[in-house]
Structures are given as C-alpha cells and as structure tokens.
C-alpha cells in the first residue's frame, strides 16, 4: 500500500490510458513543457512527445471546439482547463456541441472527450477564480459530471472517464492536488455514476463531493465525540447522474440529510439532493432536508470575508445539531 498525492494519481491515470490507447491525447495551456500550471502533467511530454501532449495557446473557446471535433473524428482528447473558470469562454462548445451531438444526430456521432481541471474555491484568489461549476454542468443532459475526492477516485474515475464514449466533466480541486491517499491496488476502473459511503452512521446523512468530503469527515468526528450524533457520510462522486438509490437508502435509515458544497445555494447540487429526498424518501424524514453552501454572493478576497463566505466546520456542526434537535 503506497500513498499517492491526487496530482500524481491524475497524471498516472492519463499516462496509463495514453499507453493503452494511441487515440488518447492531452491538450491545454502549459500542459507540455511547463508540466501543467498545477504540475499535474509533469513528465508526460517526455514520454509521449508534443504530438500527444499539446501546449495550446490561450484560446479556450476554439481549443475546446477543436477537441470536440477531434473526438467526433474518433480520437479521445483530454482537454485540460487551467481552471474551470476559464472554461466559461468555451462553455458553448461543451453544452451545445459536446453534450448534444449524440442526441441530435440520432446516435450517429459521439463525442468521447474529457474536460478536466481544478474547480471550486482554492482560497485567496477572489471572485473570478473562485467558483464551483458542478451544478452548471450537472444541469445538462448528455454530459457526465464527476468530482473525485481521494487519489484512488481521481485515478480510477479518470481512467473510466477517458474510456467513456460520452463527454465527461472531471472536476478536480486545487487544494486536494497535494493531499495524499492510499490507492488500493488491483482495481480496473471505477463506475462513473456511483456514490460511495465513506462512513456509516444512524442519525443524519451528510452528502458532499470533492473537498467538502474532507469537511464532512472532520464534522462527523466532532459530532460523534462532542455531541453523540452518528453521521453517515456519502461521497457523491457523480453529480450527473446522481446516485439516487444510495442517498434514499441512507435517508431511510437516518431520517435526516444535509448537503455540503462550495457552490452557491440557488439551483445548487444541494437543491437537487433535497428534491431527490423529498420525492423519494419523504415519509422517512424526521427533519427538513437541508444544505450548507457558500453565501449567495461573489467570493471575496479579504481572508476574513472569504472564511465567512465558505462552508466551515462550525457552520456545519451548528446546522446538524439543529436538524437533530440538539442545542
């Protein structure tokens, strides 16, 4: 059992798929000579050459469209966005062509492409570089949207994403790149549409993805140690489709649910989780299904304001105690 940082898990997944399948290539800003803005693709240029590890000019709109075209023609591009904030320049190509072509062509033409890069709030970089796009992409039929937390998830999910014949949005997190996890050996790929139960509990279900799973784990310890509340944690992993059965089964057991995310509250992943629970487990609920999000404002720069804007251990603990009727 060896520990691997998330950044190397992502790199290794790409390298292995590129060795396995010559139609897989990586394209993005600074992915080649510079080794990636977050050093995720280090070493790939040396192994695969500049025909398969392609440094793109700062031209997100067209290089995304170019990737989509290459995927239609039978290649399997991995398009790296330096951050998902910059994918906004290219979102038309993702939503209008990558996601819809398979449907619009009556199943004739598919777009096997992965769009990946850091998403969410990396701290201290202000509003234009701090945003979670999970609910934006999760809204769109024709896309798969996944967001790994551990190195194992990053590794096995990315391999599955590259092999998927549908376009996959792969949401990473800058603050997780250096975090180390044990990767269990002898797995093939992970299913792209399954949540995972990180911790079993009986009093409340906490759902989260990406870095918020980290919050949930810390919160569960505090709840257990200080408040005698047993929290079950579901790492959502897939945001489209969302693994409804896992969530509903858990709420049938716990009777309570709180979703934690860095995105804004309106039309959030939390909104969707609450709908799923209301529609699928209404009679099992002992408290209103609830959510913790970032506050409904652009993310500020000043550290004290930024802290106040984001989900925190304190906020989550308070919310759980309220739902569980504890002071």
């Amino acid at each position: 059992m060896i520990k691997t940082a998330v950044r190397y898990a992502i790199r290794d997944a790409m390298a292995e798929e590129m060795r396995r399948d010559s139609s897989v290539f990586l394209l993005g800003e600074e992915v080649g000579r510079f080794g990636g803005a977050y050093k995720v693709s280090q070493g790939l240029l040396r192994e695969f050459g500049d025909g398969r590890v392609i440094d793109a000019p700062i031209t997100e709109h067209a290089f995304t469209g170019l990737g989509v075209g290459a995927s239609m023609a039978g290649l399997r591009p991995i398009i790296e966005f330096m951050t998902f904030n910059f994918a906004m320049q290219a979102i038309d190509q993702i939503v209008n062509t990558a996601a819809k072509t398979f449907f619009m062509s009556g199943g004739n033409i598919s777009c096997p492409i992965v769009f990946r890069g850091p998403n969410g709030i990396p701290r201290g970089v202000a509003a234009q570089h701090s945003q979670c796009f999970a609910s934006w992409y999760a809204h769109v039929p024709g896309l798969r949207v996944v967001s790994p937390y551990t190195s194992a998830e990053a590794y096995y999910l990315l391999k599955a994403a590259i092999r998927s014949d549908s376009p996959v949005i792969f949401l990473e997190h800058e603050l997780l790149y250096s975090k180390e996890f044990i990767i269990p050996p002898k797995m093939e790929v992970m299913p792209l549409d399954k949540a995972s139960i990180v911790r079993e509990g009986t009093d409340i279900t906490l759902t989260a993805f990406s870095i918020c799973v980290d919050h949930a784990i810390k919160v569960a310890e505090v709840l257990q140690d200080q408040h005698d509340i047993s929290a079950e944690i579901i790492n959502l992993i897939s945001l489209r489709p969302i693994d409804k059965p896992t969530i509903i089964q858990s709420v049938q057991k716990t009777g309570r649910i709180l979703n934690i995310e860095e995105g804004w509250p309106v039309c959030s992943i939390g909104s969707e989780i609450i709908s799923i629970v209301c529609e699928g487990a209404f009679d099992y609920l002992d408290a209103e299904p609830s959510r913790i999000c970032s506050v409904d404002a652009p993310i500020p720069y000043a550290p004290n304001l930024e802290n106040a804007a984001l989900p925190s251990i304190d906020k989550i603990v308070r919310a759980v105690k309220k739902l569980c009727g504890k002071r």
């Binding site: 000019p57 067209a62 170019l66 290459a70 023609a73 190509q93 398979f102 449907f103 062509s105 004739n108």
Partner: protein, 318 residues
Amino acid sequence: MRAEEALDIYYKMAKIRAFEEKAAELYTKGSIVGFCHLYTGQEAVIVGISQNFTKADSIITSYRDHGHLLAIGVEPRYVMAELCGKITGCSKGKGGSMHLYNRSRNFFGGNGIVGAQVSIGTGLALAHKYKSTGGIAFIFFGDGAANQGQVYESFNMAAIWKLPALYILENNRYALATPTERSTVRNSLKKRGDPFGIRTICVDGMNLLEVIQKSRDAANQVREKLEPLILHVDTYRYKGHSMSDPEIYRSRSEVDSIRKTRDPIANFAAVLQERYGLDAEVIEKIDKDVMEKIEIAARFALDSPAPSEASLNMDVLL
C-alpha cells in the same frame, strides 16, 4: 470534363434547387417547422467543391446544410424526412434542418451555433494529421460567422500546428439582415487569413466551373503542403436567412437581377448547350427527373411515422 460528368454535376445542382423549393413549400404548409435555412442561389459552391472530396476527407458546415448533405450523396428522402421530423430522417427526427450528419461519409453537421463549426472543423483537421489519414477537413462558414472570435483562434492554431484545413468562407452578402459592408470593417473578408500567414484564394461562387477549378487547386495545396488555406467564395442566397425572414433589408430587384444574370444553374445549363452541344430537351429531362425524385422524397417524408415518444430518452448518454 466529359459530357456525362457535366450532366451529373448539373443534376446535383438541380436536385438541391428542387429540394429547397420543395422544403419551402412543405414549410408553408406546416409540415416543416422552426428554422429552415435554404441554400437556393448557392448550389454551385457545394456542388463544385464536393467534386474534390475524397473518402478520407471530412466536412462540416453551419445550419444551412441541406445542400451539403445532398451533394455528398445522401438520398433526398432521408434529408426531407429529417426536416419533417420523422423517424426515417437522417437524425431520426431529433435534429431537424440544422442538425444533419452522416458518419460514414465523414459529414459532421450541421451546427446551429454561428461559427462553432470552425473550431470543431479545425479539430477534424487535427485528427487527420494525428492519424495520418491523408484526408483534409473542408470547413464551411458564412460571412456572419467570419466575425466570431473563435474563427481567428482556429486560424491561429491551424497555422502554428500546420493542420490540413480548407476554410471555405461562403460570403452570401448578408448575415441574417446585415450586409457585410455594415458588419465588416473595410470589407476585409478576403484578408482575414493574412495576419496568420494563411493564403486566401477568391472565387466566383456563382460560376460552377470556376468553383471546381479553384477549389481543386486549393484542396490540392492543402493536401500537398499540409497547411491551412482559405477559399473566399462570392455567392448569393435567393431566399431569406430562414423561412421566417421578411427580407426588408434588400430590394426585390437586387435578388431578381442576380437571379437573372448570375444564376449558377441557368448559367451552367448554357455551358452544357454551348460547350457540350446538348439539347435543351436533355436538360429539361434532367429537371423533370429531379422534380420526380424530390416529389418521391417528399411523399416518403410525409408518409413516414413520427419518432415514438419512447425514443425521447434514447441517444443521450453512452
């Protein structure tokens, strides 16, 4: 060109003209709904350029795509059925007029977002280079799309990476209702490749023989030099931007005058008579055959069943 070939080319243009006129009729009757962008007037562009397509090449265009699909040999009935939203359509009724595709002929749409096909087409060119297919990408776009930023982002990448892309700017003079003089500084569409070192070849798109010859030169250069090239095509659309366009931006006499003097089909009919000594009856017979074929296509489309509601959730994810 031999007489049979010339006749075949005439047949292809007449087929597109008849198809589009039938589509207009079915639209007026309510069998085709939504957007329907006709290609009448521009037939020589796709028919001339498609003479240079090889099996290895790929093609992509905008929403004004009926003529392109017919020119590569897709049967009119499958296209008409798609326009009518029928299960027998080339996209099973799910795409409609703007979203026609044919994977086996490397035809990748039909894209409804102005200019999007230029980036996607540049990706097709990248795939040709990556896989060493020997083919090139034919990327069609209009004078309206020519003002989209992604076109120039694409030119830049095609130039630095030497991609086998032939960019075909079909300048039909109006971006919806805006004439190029009002949308394009100093009428610069013929110079848009200059900053990227991409050469532009200009062609009269109403003159079929010129389109064939100059597009052949252009395609050959892209194949040989493995670098991008632009073909600027001066053409004209007879109908509105789409069927719902009242055309208040141009005079009837402008359209009539071009129809009278520059019509690509009438002019090529004259070539057939003068250069090949073909009788008017031969040409009339082709016109009649084409009309019959299009009538059959329309009947096929109208008689076909609509897609079942069960197909609503199909072809979404793989």
